[in-house]
């Protein structure tokens, strides 16, 4: 009877310009590759004191394609390991920012030829959610045949993609052309909220409407509701040949080719302690500390800082954490307002059943997960059907961290199967 109904933040049709965050004194760029300062993978290509220009491509290891694009001009001050959640590790390149900005012009030579090669070599790090899967199609068993541009935002209180749809329709249009040309994929669909239909149609992609109620904009539900294709449990959208790109990334792509420079400003929402959300624009690599000081937000011990939205984000442990190209939002919660989890057992109240968009028997699933029976959970209670929207934890009367249990179970089962495969 009291099933909560949470709607996405709807952007106004003439939104104000996002607030600009000043260039930081130090920026940190995260390269998606583990870094071990003592081991053999010691940096070969970059060392302390190296000068970098804005828009310059930085690689770290000789025999690796991974790179980042510097968002500032200055000198490298450190290269260090950096750890994310679920055991992911990165190499963090810190840059001390110089006073005068210099632009790196190497990319402008490639503007004439928008090939996949160019995009892969220069634009994998552009602001917005740009999946690498589109760039390396030869690694896939099923080729990508459809690209869905998310003109909607993944989580509540976020408007970054919607802002691009409204304000950057020309750049998106160019980006769509480039995507078509570079990938050879004709079937490009724009997923948008109804009130932005007209702006979305300017992109030249086919527009389809996403329901404004959370979690309709999650990829699995867009697949089901907009494309009429249900992703089998345990498979990803890419397995069915569908890739998802954020509208902001498509706009960045268009801008890169229009201007001959790689964009370095990322738009994201700052969600303050009182729950209000403001769209801002900052250079990739800006530490969150700078964003909080721009907004005069006091950060105290035991507060919670979240990258991403309230339902699907990730909490972080340091104010030095940098803005990344796919950071949609930064949320700060006061320690007095935190909804904490508990170790209470499931009381079988059934609130999670009607709210689950994947129709999982969460009450039974959590009983298996609590006692580490992950395989049984997957076999009998649809662990792999979960699309990780977090609504079950949101309504849980016992405040069980259900989503965390689910992600942990998937992670552990994934590790077991990897070990089994390598043993065979």
């Amino acid at each position: 009877m009291t099933k909560p109904r949470m709607t996405y933040q709807a952007i106004e049709l003439t939104p104000p310009e996002p607030k600009k965050i000043p260039t930081p004194k130090q920026a940190m760029l995260l390269l998606n590759e583990p870094y071990d300062s003592f081991g053999q993978k010691k940096s070969a290509q970059l060392k302390k004191g190296d000068p970098v220009k804005t828009g310059q491509k930085l690689t770290l290891f000789e025999n690796s394609d991974a790179y980042v694009v510097s968002s500032v001009t200055g000198t490298v001050s450190a290269v260090s390991p950096f750890f994310g959640d679920f055991g992911r590790s990165y190499a963090a390149i810190s840059v001390d920012v110089a006073e005068n900005e210099e632009m790196d012009e190497q990319f402008s030579a490639f503007v004439k030829e928008p090939t996949l090669e160019t995009v892969r070599n220069w634009l994998a790090f552009i602001p917005g959610n740009f999946p690498s899967i589109i760039l390396s199609p030869d690694q896939l068993s099923t080729p990508i045949d459809t690209i869905v541009i998310c003109g909607v935002d993944r989580d509540l209180l976020i408007t970054a993609n919607q802002h691009s749809v409204v304000k950057e329709s020309n750049a998106i249009k160019r980006g769509v052309q480039i995507l078509r040309q570079a990938t050879g994929i004709d079937n490009i669909i724009m997923a948008s909220h109804e009130h932005l239909m007209q702006d979305a149609a300017l992109s030249g992609a086919e527009v389809r409407v996403v329901d404004p109620v959370y979690p309709a904009s999650l990829p699995h539900l867009i697949m089901r509701d907009l494309l009429g294709r249900v992703v089998p449990a345990g498979k990803s959208c890419e397995d069915l040949g569908v890739a998802f790109v954020g509208a902001e990334a498509v706009a960045s792509l268009g801008k890169a080719f229009n201007e001959g420079r790689i964009p370095v400003y990322k738009r994201f929402n700052v969600i303050k302690k009182d729950g209000t959300s403001t769209l801002v624009s900052a250079r990739v690599g800006t530490p969150v500390r700078d964003i909080f000081s721009t907004f005069d937000i006091t950060v105290n011990e035991k507060d919670r800082i979240v990258f991403g939205g309230p339902m699907t984000g990730t909490s972080i442990y340091s104010e030095n954490h940098p803005i990344q190209p796919d950071t949609d939002a930064i949320m700060i919660q006061d320690h007095k307002d935190l909804a904490l989890v508990s170790d209470y057992p499931c009381i079988n109240c059934g609130d999670c059943i009607p709210i689950c968009p994947a129709k999982i028997q969460v009450n039974m699933l959590v009983r298996f997960l609590e006692v580490v029976k992950y395989q049984e959970a997957a076999d009998e209670y649809d662990l792999y059907s979960c699309i990780e929207c977090g609504l079950c934890s949101f309504v849980c009367v016992s405040r069980i961290p259900i989503l965390q249990y689910i992600k942990l179970a998937k992670c552990e089962l994934g590790r077991i199967s990897t070990v089994e495969e390598t043993n065979v």
């Binding site: 249900v230 991403g308 059943i353 968009p357 059907s385 949101f394 989503l403």
Partner: protein, 319 residues
């Protein structure tokens, strides 16, 4: 580096709708209060003492078990107090103290704690307690006998007993409106139909109970009673009488809806509720007992794990 502030790091989601186990228990207690206060008003101090003893002994048993089993204290969640209150609501006001204390022992310890505590019990703890004491000391549950000293302006014969022993003509004195307003004999908190219905509606709106169970339970009673009544109006009472007497209304909104022992899927909830309703009337009309609610719900608890297997296909499930 070590002078850094320490932040709270946890997993998504970072919002919660604010519900909690204790709020749920206290809401149920709150919703039951009109019926309980009406019982106090009707039966006076004996009713107050039964309710007070029942709630306090239930909490005491839970506390004792927490201590003995060396587990964290769970009396703060209000569940034990709720069990004690609901148990007292089913008792006659003249119940002796040892009956109350024994009943709450069975309800809290045998009915709930030995299954692992809240959420683990396969049967409704209140009904386990009540079933044991009813079967053990059935004279104390003969409402005509134990409430003989109460004399009001309305008939004080226990309606269901009159129906069982004397047939339909004996219940012509009971008017539905009077029954609804609590002018009948019965358990302390089970007689005030209007209060129970309002409390039930409150719980449904607050999301503390599942409306599907209450509605299907009442529909099961209504349809079955109607069928019996149509078959032989001289022998079987009509549906309105069955809905407003005995433990029907407290069963529909407070007992059948107990979280742990009832299903959570839509169709299973309908089957479960309707099954309990049908069983209630079968026991009342052709069974040995005067009221069938207690055993009907316990039997429905028994089929709960099986019926709750009827579930929708999960997203992307490959059969």
């Amino acid at each position: 580096m070590f002078e850094q502030k320490k932040f709270t790091v946890s997993h998504a989601p970072f919002w919660h709708n604010g519900s909690s186990v204790s709020a749920r228990s206290y809401n149920i207690i709150l919703a039951a209060l009109p019926a309980v206060l009406f019982g106090f008003f009707t039966y006076g101090m004996p009713a107050v003492s039964v309710v007070a003893l029942s709630v306090s002994s239930a909490v005491a048993w839970e506390l004792a078990y927490n201590k003995i089993s060396k587990r964290s204290l769970s009396i703060g969640d209000g569940n034990a107090a709720m069990i004690g209150l609901l148990f007292a609501m089913l008792l006659p006001a003249t119940s002796p103290w040892w009956l109350v204390v024994t009943g709450t022992f069975v309800a809290v310890i045998v009915g709930k704690q030995i299954y692992g505590g809240i959420g683990g019990n396969p049967f409704n703890p209140v009904l386990v307690g009540l079933a044991i004491v009813t079967l053990s000391w059935k004279d104390f549950f003969d409402f005509n006998e134990v409430l003989v000293n109460y004399d009001f302006s309305y008939p004080m014969a226990y309606p269901l007993a009159s129906l069982k022993h004397f047939g339909v003509f004996a219940i012509s004195d009971f008017k539905p409106a009077a029954l609804l307003m609590g002018q009948q004999s019965g358990g302390i908190g089970a007689i005030f139909g209007l209060g129970l219905i309002l409390g039930g509606i409150y719980l449904i709106i607050r999301g503390c109970i599942r409306w599907e169970i209450s509605v299907s339970f009442l529909s099961g009673i209504w349809v079955t009673a109607l069928l019996f009544n149509m078959a032989d109006p001289a022998k079987y009472a009509g549906p309105a009488f069955h809905l407003l007497t005995g433990y029907t209304l407290i069963g529909a909104f407070y007992l059948a809806t107990e979280d742990s022992s009832s299903p959570v899927n839509f169709i299973p909830m309908l089957i479960y509720g309707a099954f309990a309703g049908i069983m209630t009337i079968l026991i009342r009309n052709i069974g040995a007992y005067v009221d069938g609610v207690v055993f009907a719900i316990l039997i429905a608890n028994l089929i709960n794990p099986l019926v709750d297997k009827i579930r929708p296909k999960a997203l992307g499930k490959v059969v």
